[in-house]
Amino acid sequence: MTSPGDVVAPPQADRSSVKRALARVGRGARRVAEALATPLLPEDFIDLVDPLRSGADLRGRVVAVTPETPTATTILIRPGRGWRGHRPGQYTRIGVDVDGVRHWRAYSITSPVGAETISITVRAIPDGRVSNHVRHGLRPGAVLMLDQATGDFVLPDPAPDRVLFLTAGSGITPVMGMLRNDPLPRDVVVVHSAPTSGDMLFRRDLTALAAQGRISLVTRFTATDGILPVTALDGVVPDWRDRDVWVCGPTGLLDDAEAHWAAAGLSGRLHTERFRPRIHAVGDGGEVTFTGAGVTVAADAATTLLAAGEDAGVLMPSGCRMGICFNCVLPLTDGSVRDLRTGEVTTANPEDPVLVQTCVSAAAGPCHLRV
């Protein structure tokens, strides 16, 4: 302890100058390592030995793959040492190689904070390449690409006293991520809809929490009872106006909730997470948006993206104009394009952009390219 009159600056200065010197040595060592490894990076060689070390591109090793319901699967992942943790309710992106092709998808983290592993729950959608691979192809020991956790669908600190979670389908996943942490808000009501009780995610966890009296649980099975309209909330949670509400589920639910809370003048209490599997309208030709150039043009099914861009005055990279040189590739950030040589359709989302050859691809529905 130093008394108020003591001069505390010198030791601090010493410490910081040592730190600075160390940092300089570190930077110097880094430069030497880079000079040794060029044109690669030192990491490329260290990855040979330890792909999960801290500082590496974030990866995770699959520890367990567990069926949750007939269609949903929970995977337990041990993230690499660079993992910075998450806040309850946040999601992460995982990059999975399916048939040799990397796909990125975003999933809510459903495990409590502070554990050595994280879990995500993936519902298989028909023809979903990633979700079906997770269910049938993924085995413990596999290494996935991982992103740091992100998202604003979280409880504030301190959490409000009275909370309503309004969820449907896999919209329960971020909420489960919150409910698995202590302490919970004093008064929690969960209103969750699922098609049937067999399809309901985390049924056992939720009923256990309710049995312990930590949450009040209202479930609605829509296959038999129909969808619960937001306007019917008064009958289920009479004090919904006094609660902060977190809503996650299909677009229809979110839209209805936004309208309902706005009508009550309570938009400030509403928090939403939009989790929609994107449905792209695949067609012949479409509106091509060159983000960055701020140009949108209509292109037909026979017009290459390259030609469409050039005609609209966009500075397009180009080369052989026949699909062999790969000098024209640009990221497709949204929508679908068709390869004019094979007819193959490539689809991308903002979470999973794909580089496409603009000289042999045409719009297949509205699409966005980053120039």
Binding site: A35, G100, V101, A299, M322, I324, F326, R341, V360
Partner: protein
């Protein structure tokens, strides 16, 4: 989009045209026996092969390239470590050999093929044509331009594909003979030794800059990038690694120089075998106007030559030993070329087209023979080649004398005046 209707889109041209049987320079047309329908049938058959490979491309292919990269990096790392003790002759030999092989595989099976976009489909940003940089003097970006665009599009078209002799060699009778070609066997020998720097200068288009066809600002910007890359490359092999070896510094430097040179000679030889051996056709500018996909395919097949050999041989050449298959499908994964080669060969033979192939020594010899043969002007009836060379040399000397006449006179006068 109305403007697109008039734009030439090379891949959608579908109108085959009859070609002359004998070209302007008297060269036999190797496809004169094919009808336009034949050529389009060939195109369709090749498209079908391509589609088949695309449909079956998957996890096994991805595993192949990742394994190749892992093996190459492990070999390079191990060789570099061994070379830390290169003062000891066994370490020197083992380290140098390992590093040479590692550098060759890095340039060929890995670098060349990734930069062709053969692995872009994996969507792995680490193994992608837009992010990859290789252990070679020429920056990937510039090489992609000159190689993937110019060479692969205009393969073996005299006057358009500068890879035909790389601006310095005369490898085809249709190329104009100049006096300096007399020295091309020597030039080529040194090109082989310093191949990576030759390619860097070539990709930079130094010739275009001198001829005024390359914009000065663009040239200076590109030059800066080359110098930066050269500094890093040379710093690595000739400064940092030797210094790290301490007492073995000089022998490590020597080992790195040997590895780079051996790699240069090897890649030069492989690339020479791709388009220069006997039996490979060249084409004229007019012949590619309005070229259809089928005609493009045929030109690629006739303008390339394979090298026969073992699997290890194919890896060491980056599967450019399947140059014909590579030129047909530059973006298919290289591990698939061997698989489709028998079908491509059968197809060519069925249509009476020559599938040029042979073992490395034979193909290298054949390409070198061309370098010697075309160092002299084409044989003209009633003239001796030697006589033509002497005449050209005399003309050159006269030119020099003419353009420096004033100086010579003055010299002679001053010489005459000196004794007096």
């Amino acid at each position: 989009m109305t403007a697109s209707a008039t734009r030439t889109n090379r891949i959608t041209t579908t109108r085959p045209e009859a070609r002359a049987e004998v070209s302007a320079s008297g060269k036999r047309n190797p496809i004169a026996h094919l009808t336009p329908e034949d050529i389009e049938d060939i195109g369709r058959e090749l498209d079908a092969i391509r589609d088949e490979v695309l449909a079956s491309r998957g996890a096994a292919d991805a595993a192949y390239i990742r394994r190749m990269i892992r093996t190459q990096r492990s070999l390079e790392l191990a060789s570099r470590v061994v070379l830390l003790f290169s003062k000891f002759p066994p370490a020197f030999v083992v380290g140098t050999t390992g590093l040479t092989v590692a550098k060759i595989i890095e340039n060929t099976e890995i670098g060349h093929n990734i930069l062709h976009g053969q692995w872009d489909w994996m969507r792995d940003e680490k193994i992608h044509s837009s992010t990859w940089e290789w252990d070679f003097a020429s920056p990937a970006e510039q090489w992609k331009k000159s190689h993937n665009v110019e060479h692969h599009t205009y393969t073996n078209v005299v006057g358009m594909d500068n890879d035909l002799g790389y601006n310095i060699l005369r490898v085809d009778p249709d190329q104009e003979w100049k006096l300096h070609h007399v020295f091309q066997p020597v030039t080529n020998f040194f090109t082989a030794l310093f191949f990576e720097y030759g390619i860097a200068a070539y990709d930079l288009d130094v010739k275009g800059f001198k001829d005024g066809t390359k914009d000065k600002d663009v040239f200076m910007a590109d030059l800066k990038k080359v110098l930066k890359k050269l500094r890093a490359q040379m710093g690595k092999d000739y400064v940092v690694h030797p210094l790290l070896s301490g007492p073995s510094a000089l022998s490590t430097l020597l080992a790195n120089a040997i590895a780079n040179t051996a790699r240069n000679v090897w890649t030069h030889s492989v690339i020479f075998c791709g388009h220069f051996p006997d039996g490979v056709e060249t084409f004229e500018t007019e012949s590619i106007e309005g070229e259809t996909r089928g005609e493009w395919y045929v030109r690629q097949m006739l303008g390339s030559a394979n090298i026969s050999g073992s699997r290890f041989m194919h890896v060491m050449t980056g599967n450019l030993s399947h140059q014909i298959e590579h030129h047909l499908f530059p973006d298919l994964p290289s591990n698939r070329y061997a698989q489709i080669a028998p079908r491509v060969r059968a197809l060519m033979e069925r249509y009476g087209l020559r599938y040029v192939t042979g073992p490395l020594p034979k193909q290298v010899g054949s390409a070198w023979a061309k370098v010697f043969r075309h160092s002299l002007p084409n044989k003209r009836p009633g003239h001796s080649q030697l006589g033509d060379v002497v005449a050209a040399a005399r003309d050159a000397v006269t030119d020099v004398l003419d353009s420096t006449r004033g100086m010579w006179r003055r010299d002679r006068r001053s010489l005459a005046a000196a004794p007096a």
